[in-house]
């Protein structure tokens, strides 16, 4: 019997049995991708970087549907960890990816200058939108990995 590849995008199918909390959980997911402070393409880079850090293969194969596409060459560069020097990445994207990797290690460890660089580029609302998005993207990747293991 084939099993479903569980990712941050489709883990909701596993969670609908929760009942009333499932709908607001999806509402948050839609809201973080549609807020105006951090472009969805930037969040997609963060999602893929978190997937790499989690060694989440199904997640790495996923591409979120974006209004403005993300070139596959740029994704490959990200996953080769070339984003620091690749001119395809903007300074804002670099600041956000640097922050993402600190966030993944531990939010407590994030240096003030790393956070400050994000705030300087995205503003306070953008900073909050980013940490909200990272929290829910990272959380859904974690749950997807757990449910993948539980269906083995």
């Amino acid at each position: 019997m084939r099993t479903m590849s569980v990712t941050s995008a489709n883990v909701s199918e596993k969670l609908t049995v929760a009942g009333e909390a499932a709908a607001p959980f999806e509402d948050v997911w839609r809201a973080i991708w549609n807020q105006p402070h951090v472009p969805a393409s930037t969040l997609e880079l963060c999602r893929l970087d978190l997937a790499r850090l989690h060694h989440a293969e199904a997640e790495l194969a996923l591409r979120m549907p974006l209004r403005q596409g993300l070139p596959e060459a740029k994704i490959e560069s990200l996953l080769r960890q070339n984003w620091m020097k690749d001119p395809a990445f903007s300074e804002t994207e670099r600041a956000v990816l640097n922050f993402t990797e600190w966030y993944h290690a531990s939010p407590q460890s994030i240096p003030d200058d790393v956070a400050g660089e994000v705030i300087a580029r995205l503003g306070q609302s953008g900073y909050v939108a980013l940490i909200e998005a990272l929290g829910f993207i990272d959380g859904r990747i974690r749950v997807a990995l757990i449910y993948s293991r539980m269906q083995d």
Binding site: E20, A31, I131, V143
Partner: protein
């Protein structure tokens, strides 16, 4: 962790800890996150004391002082004592917590430390003890608790210690 808050919460008070925090700066997401937090407590097929144990396990792991200091009233009414709270720490397997409480912490730890490392034995115990609805609710609640506590830590400006404070479930 920054000693000074990196962003300022909006002015005004609604009485809701999420809306009144810096998360209130993002009006496009704050109502959805507040609603999720409310449903985590109000629509739970998992007993409140168990949910609180999972929340506190997360709070201690993320080291969110605000989250660690709070006790939800519904969890206390459901039997969560400070003696039990003290046992939600490393070595909990040998504590006096019940088998169900230890299993809930094991689920939280899988999420927090090694989601790829869920063993067949743990998966089997989880599926035997909890219904699919309970497991799914625990997963949703964990994401909500973890994401918001990480937000609080990322915003910074937390005191080193806070007194234990009971609050009403949203």
């Amino acid at each position: 962790m920054g000693a000074v808050a990196r962003v300022q919460a909006p002015q005004g008070s609604t009485g809701d800890p999420i809306r009144d925090s810096a998360l209130g700066l993002v009006i496009e997401t704050v109502e959805q996150i507040a609603s999720l937090n409310r449903h985590a407590w109000r629509s739970s097929p998992v007993r409140a004391s168990l949910l609180e144990i999972v929340r506190l396990r997360n709070a201690r792991t993320v080291n969110c002082q605000f989250c660690k200091s709070v006790r939800y009233d519904v969890a206390r009414r459901d039997g969560l004592t400070e003696s039990k709270v003290d046992q939600i720490r490393d070595g909990y397997q040998e504590s006096g917590l019940s088998g169900e409480e230890k299993l809930a912490i094991a689920f939280a730890d899988a999420y927090l430390f090694d989601p790829q490392g869920v063993t067949a034995e743990l998966a089997s115990r989880l599926k035997q003890h909890f219904t699919p609805a309970q497991l799914a609710h625990l997963a949703i609640a964990l994401v909500a608790f973890n994401a918001t506590s990480r937000c609080a830590v990322s915003i910074g400006g937390m005191p080193e210690n806070l007194p234990v404070t009971e609050i009403s479930a949203p």
